[in-house]
């Protein structure tokens, strides 16, 4: 009794349960357990404590693992009949209950496990491939959609650009027009400018227009806002003449458009003029006026 108590207190039984003893020490403990029931009991109690300790640290395995293990074992058990002789032989290669060195035996049995593992790897790779193809197809569709949207956006940008250019042109035209209007306003209020009203002749009694003449500066301007001449065609243009000492002097050609490009048109300069007249001439003008085609004329008032 005393012997067994001292033996228990050495702590060797704990090491036995933990698999820390060599084969000789294990045999010794097993002999002691067989001889002393209290040692047998002590070992049992230590084992239960360690088992509870392990259970308290349990981790649930993945769900499919159970099936995989059972399949593996049913394969082994169906083979076991033919392996019976081999097994009997390998039994002599005894595995003690707690030896660390016992892990090396029967490794050959584990080979099917690895094969199985590669099969599942191939299966998951196959799934990955299918998933990749699916993703690729989705990407292509998305890319196509994006391409559509992009060309739509490009068209919109082009049309907006076009609009912007037209708007800018309009603004610049309006600026010019505004400048011309201001000039017209300043001309009519400026005594150094002479306004000459040209009235219709026998061939076009409705026609009339206004010419501004700056005597000292010799400038001559045609006011498109106050012009009422029949529209000229593409092969003809109106030509302005100054009557200087009874002789006509060419002052250049102009057009009578429904939508004039400029409100105020500068003509050639003239120093002294008693009257102004306009004739319809061939495009580009003539050296001498065609008197029967004179549409308006007006005398400079002094």
């Amino acid at each position: 009794m005393k012997e067994s108590k001292a033996y228990i207190e050495t702590g060797i039984l704990e090491l036995y349960v933990l698999g820390q003893l060599n084969v000789r020490e294990q045999k010794e403990v097993e002999q002691m357990a067989a001889d002393f029931p209290e040692i047998r009991e002590e070992i049992n109690a230590i084992e239960i404590a360690m088992e509870m300790y392990a259970i308290s640290h349990a981790i649930e395995p993945t769900l499919g693992l159970e099936k995989q293990i059972f399949e593996e074992i049913s394969k082994l058990s169906s083979k076991s009949n033919s392996d019976q002789d081999f097994k009997k032989e390998s039994n002599s290669n005894h595995i003690s209950s707690g030896s660390i060195n016992s892990g090396q035996t029967e490794t050959a049995k584990i080979i099917p496990l690895k094969q199985d593992h590669s099969v599942s790897t191939i299966r998951s790779l196959r799934f990955a491939l299918v998933a990749c193809i699916g993703l690729l197809m989705m990407s292509v569709v998305a890319l196509y959609g994006a391409h559509d949207k992009l060309s739509e956006a490009n068209a919109q940008i082009a049309s907006l650009n076009n609009q912007r250019e037209r708007f800018a042109a309009t603004v610049s035209y309006m600026k010019d027009e505004n400048k011309d209007l201001q000039e017209i306003a300043s001309i009519s209020g400026d005594p150094t400018w002479t306004s000459v009203k040209l009235a219709g002749t026998a061939i076009s009694p409705q026609a009339k227009m206004m010419v501004y003449w700056h005597k000292s500066g010799q400038h001559v301007m045609v006011d498109n806002t106050r012009m009422s001449l029949p529209q000229n065609d593409a092969s003809h243009q109106y030509q302005l003449w100054a009557i200087v000492n009874g002789k006509p002097v060419d002052l250049g050609v102009f057009n009578a458009d429904a939508q004039p490009k400029k409100l105020l048109v500068a003509m050639k300069e003239v120093a002294a003029a008693q009257a102004f007249a306009v004739t319809l001439e061939k495009r580009g003008g003539s050296t001498a006026p065609t008197m029967e085609k004179m549409v308006v004329q007006g005398v400079v008032s002094i």
Binding site: A33, I46, I48, A54, S56, H57, E66, S77
Partner: protein, 183 residues
Amino acid sequence: MAATKKISLTEEDLVHALKGKETIAIQALYDMYSGALLGVISRIIPHQEVAEDLLQETFIKIWNSADHYDSSKGRLFTWMINVARNLSIDKLRSKDFRNATKNQDIENNVDFIDSQRKITFNADTLGLRDMVTALKPEFNDVLNMVYFKGYTHVEAAEELNLPLGTVKTRIRMAIMELRKHFN
């Protein structure tokens, strides 16, 4: 846990069925102990896939080596735990595993596992962790090094720079505390 569906047999019946190569024995052992075995394996090998492969190897080894189990030498579950621990320690010390996990600090296995995986506590043992942590840590550390980290008690003594006798005493004290708790 669907307790009603799980198979549970007495140890004597289990041993008999296992030695008779009845597959129901493996199913019962799986239902009763797979979680606990994976818990032990995972603390030695903190890598889920490898640990589950080792759990499979463990059950195959239990199946193949059932003839070698001698109930006069110890309890069945303790024998199973030692099969699992030995396979795990062999794996831990194998070259290919060492190469694959060079960058992982093996010292931190227990904490790493506990933070990565949910532990399925047995209702009966709830509060054990508090109890164990309340234990003098130096006693418990030695037990955990040997039980959960794959150290031999000799290696643990070297690692902690303690006499072998002190290591043995501490292991004994830690297990005594566990026994007190479970009784």
